[in-house]
């Protein structure tokens, strides 16, 4: 009796086994759900989505794409230190976040800047973080792209450590369940993360506790230089879900309609106590792992070319134009607006300059201790006597 109460307090552990491994489940975990073919033609049931939402999906993907293009140029010009693109993965990133409610939590991996923008984060915040300037919430302390967002956005800061976000996501979801808060947690991960121990910890925990979690695995074929074929001996990444006792779905990650539909279904099930889902979005990282990486050292240009033909943004544009949802002129206007928006953000943030030197000792202690104040005074003295050396470092 007492035990049952405690268990209930922990969030209703359902100890009865979950029946998921039917032939149909296996087919979903090993097949490939596709609604929109690479040529932009509908191959599945037409989506029941409002035209405004469809245009918003397109704009979200476009903002991610143009942001990547422009930020990579800034990095090569030495204006920002580092960048990691999501080029090629926009359908998975945007299709997933668009399927959530605005108060659902998002636990990103490394390439979800576009999802943060979709949530409403101003582009200027992203640019400020990349410059590490005085406007940056973390005041230049974090590596570029690893941005902190306002708490209200419910968008957790990404960590460079692979798969550590998955136990966080399971914990967030479990906490929500205990609070009887009907929110869902969307956790992004790469296929490389499935080889890390935290994948097991997070996914297994979420399954055991039926935490309202959607794990979206962006299988972009490459974990830096490790190909997906070296990542697992399982038939697919999605089929791992069945062993954990949750549904696994394999979906065309370059098909924004398929991703959106799949995540929406998984989120709806999670919201009513149905537990987590692992979705494998099969996609491709068209760019390098990061601005410090050269993919031609480990993969062929033919490989890249074959995936360029499956570009998620292009196929969606074709379909939107064909259905009259967004014609070429509309798409061009959307692109011009996004480019202007990003250019304005860069112009505004580039001149802001670094956070004040004093910020070095702030934000850790409520009242900076005397020793730190002393060190800061020393630093300011040295800097005042040799201003040139600081400039030379720029």
């Amino acid at each position: 009796m007492a035990l049952a109460k405690i268990r209930a307090g922990m969030g209703d552990v359902d100890s009865e086994s979950v029946e998921v491994w039917s032939d149909e489940d296996e087919a979903r975990a090993t097949g490939l759900l596709q609604l929109l073919g690479p040529d932009g033609r509908l191959v599945g049931a037409p989506p029941k989505l409002e035209p405004a939402l469809l245009r918003e999906l397109h704009r979200g993907m476009l903002r991610a794409r143009v942001l990547d293009e422009k930020m990579l140029l800034l990095q090569r010009q030495g204006r920002i230190a580092f960048y990691a693109e999501a080029r090629g993965q926009e359908a998975a990133v945007i299709g997933a976040i668009a399927a959530l409610e605005s108060n659902d939590y998002v636990v990103p991996a490394h390439r979800e800047l576009g999802a943060a923008l979709y949530r409403g984060l101003p582009i200027a915040n992203v640019v400020a973080q990349l410059y590490g300037n005085a406007h940056d919430v973390a005041r230049g302390r974090q590596m570029p792209v690893h941005l902190a967002t306002p708490r209200a956005l419910r968008f957790i800061p990404p960590s460079s450590c692979v798969a550590t976000q998955l136990p966080h996501a399971a914990g967030l979801a479990w906490a929500a369940k205990m609070r009887r808060d009907p929110v869902v947690v969307l956790a992004y991960l790469g296929e490389g993360a499935t080889s890390a121990e935290d994948f097991h910890a997070g996914v297994n925990f979420a399954a055991v506790y039926r935490a309202p979690c959607v794990f979206l695995c962006e299988n972009n074929q490459w974990a830096i230089s490790t190909p997906a074929s070296r990542q697992t001996a399982s038939r697919t990444f999605a089929i791992k879900a069945l062993a954990y006792g949750m549904p696994g779905v394999r979906v065309d990650g370059n098909d924004v309609l398929a991703v959106h539909a799949t995540v929406r279904e998984a989120a709806a099930r999670a919201r009513v106590g149905g537990g987590p889902t692992l979705i494998e979005a099969v996609t491709y990282r068209l760019g390098a792992h990061s601005s410090s990486d050269d993919p031609h050292r480990y993969r062929s240009e033919a490989d890249e070319a074959s995936w360029k033909g499956k570009d998620p943004l292009e196929r969606f544009s074709i379909w939107l134009a064909a259905t009259g949802t967004l014609d070429a002129a509309g798409a061009a206007a959307q692109r011009a607006a996004v480019e202007a928006e990003i250019a304005a953000a860069v112009e505004a943030e580039e001149g802001i300059g670094p956070p004040p030197l004093r910020s070095l000792i702030e934000n850790v202690f409520a009242q900076p201790p005397a020793a730190l104040e002393e060190q800061l005074a020393d630093l300011e003295r040295v800097r005042a006597s040799a201003p040139a050396s600081h400039d030379a470092d720029r």
Binding site: L73, Q75, R76, Q77, G78, A81, F82, S292, E350
Partner: protein
């Protein structure tokens, strides 16, 4: 106004980048974000886009050259509008003349690429390093080896790796650095202090070649020394008989012990071809020689030289004696031909009358073994449980243990020992005459 674009750290901690290919020429109009140059760092090969619009001023580094991070890579003549803007990530030149003699006009015609000639001293490779890297695949080396390569100025992509999976070792880098420095594999030059009365002899010619050969051999071959004692009592007696007979035919004519030793060694080499061999490191092959050409290390006034008895296995001891005498005379008088002083497949070193007891001879690289012959002296020996006086001689053999196993070296010397201890067979054997 001139904008100086300094090479940024484009890969989390790179210190320099190699200019792989220029995509713009001096004087070209330049759009914002237009690709200017392909730069290869140790992490990636990337295109650098223009940070400002305007016109290409000066390309400060030629293709194939290394541009350190923070150095001006290219100057851009800014359009008037750009000139008014502040700059970040690069810096407008305080003195426009620094960037070139054409400041301010913006209408200078396209200059030829050769205008960077003063900086192009190091020259460019016919195949770009990026292309080489793509052709050869990635380089395997530990960070310590990479650091060493940077310190020695060695491009790892040109180094042959001898470690597992063709991994480049630190020794490979050092060898490469040594071999790449001029003609010889000389170590870094060392200066020494002089005192009054010291004599300085030019280190060149034969002495220099000897030094290089010895150093190369000691550096490359894994020297393994093996010493055996040979009872030459019967050989001494036989030689005395032979000399009595020779003196009858031609007064003053004598045979030394060396022809017997050469004969015994040449015969043993036919049985152990692994010692009559050379290591072709470039081809990755051990080459076992068809012929036995016996090199005889010989002291001359100028230094050590090695005359060669060709097809020593086919000559009788008497014929060997004549040939050795002829070669020794030709060598000492400086009349030996180049052919007579090269082409050995195995070498014997003998100090003649001095002989010594033991030596650790240096292999005549790239051969794989050298036999040292020592003094024959009357020493006590135990025979049938009694101490008797015998004529004993030591043989020292150095083999390249990379190629020749110690056991084979021992068996080889045992075969020589056996032949020398029963020398009648050596003397009687009538080898086929050379054509």
């Amino acid at each position: 106004m001139i904008y100086e674009f300094r090479l940024p750290d484009i890969g989390e901690g790179v210190v320099e980048g190699e200019v792989v290919r220029w995509l713009v020429k001096e004087g070209d109009p330049l759009r914002m974000d237009q690709p200017m140059v392909e730069i290869m760092t140790d992490k990636a090969t990337v295109e650098i886009p223009a940070p400002r619009a305007g016109r290409v001023g000066k390309r400060m580094f030629a293709e194939g050259q290394l541009c350190p991070v923070g150095k001006v890579l290219i100057t851009i003549e800014l359009a008037d509008e750009g000139a008014a803007e502040g700059s970040r990530g690069g810096s407008p030149s305080r003195n426009a003349a620094e960037g070139g003699a054409h400041a301010g006009t913006g209408t200078r015609p396209a200059g030829p690429a050769t205008s960077v000639a003063p900086l192009a001293g190091r020259g460019t490779a016919p195949l770009s390093p990026a292309a080489r890297a793509r052709a050869l695949g990635p380089v395997l080396a530990t960070p310590a080896t990479r650091k060493l390569a940077r310190d020695l100025g060695v491009d790892l992509r040109g180094v042959f790796g001898t470690g597992p999976a063709a991994r480049i070792t630190s020794d490979d880098v050092r060898n490469h650095a040594g071999g790449g420095r001029g003609a010889g594999a000389a170590p870094p030059p060392i200066s020494i202090a002089r005192e009054p009365g010291d004599v300085a002899i030019p280190f060149r010619g034969l002495r220099r070649r000897i030094a290089e050969n010895m150093a190369r051999s000691k550096h490359a071959a894994a020297h393994f020394l093996y010493v055996e004692e040979v009872d030459c009592t019967e050989l001494v007696a036989l030689r005395a008989q032979v000399n009595v007979r020779l003196a009858k035919d031609a007064p003053g004519r004598k045979i030394t012990f060396l022809p017997f030793i050469v004969k015994a060694t040449a015969q043993a080499l036919l049985v152990f071809p692994q010692l009559n061999a050379a290591l072709d490191e470039a081809a990755g092959e051990i080459v076992q020689r068809k012929h036995v050409h016996m090199g005889l290390a010989t002291a001359t006034a100028a230094g050590l030289v090695v005359p060669v008895v060709r097809d020593a296995d086919t000559l009788s001891v008497a014929a060997l004696g004549k040939e050795i005498d002829r070669l020794a005379e030709a060598t000492r008088s400086g009349k030996a031909t180049r052919e007579e002083l090269s082409g050995s497949t195995f070498t014997i070193t003998s100090l003649g009358q001095l002989g010594g007891v033991l030596a650790a001879p240096i292999i005549n690289h790239p051969e794989v073994a050298i036999l040292g012959v020592h003094k024959i002296a009357k020493r006590p020996a135990v025979r049938d449980g009694a101490i008797v006086v015998r004529d004993l001689m030591n043989l020292s053999i150095s083999v390249d243990h990379r190629v020749v196993d110690g056991y084979d070296a021992a068996r080889f010397v045992a075969a020589i020992k056996e032949a020398l201890e029963a020398p009648a067979g050596l003397w009687q054997e009538q080898a086929p005459r050379k054509a």
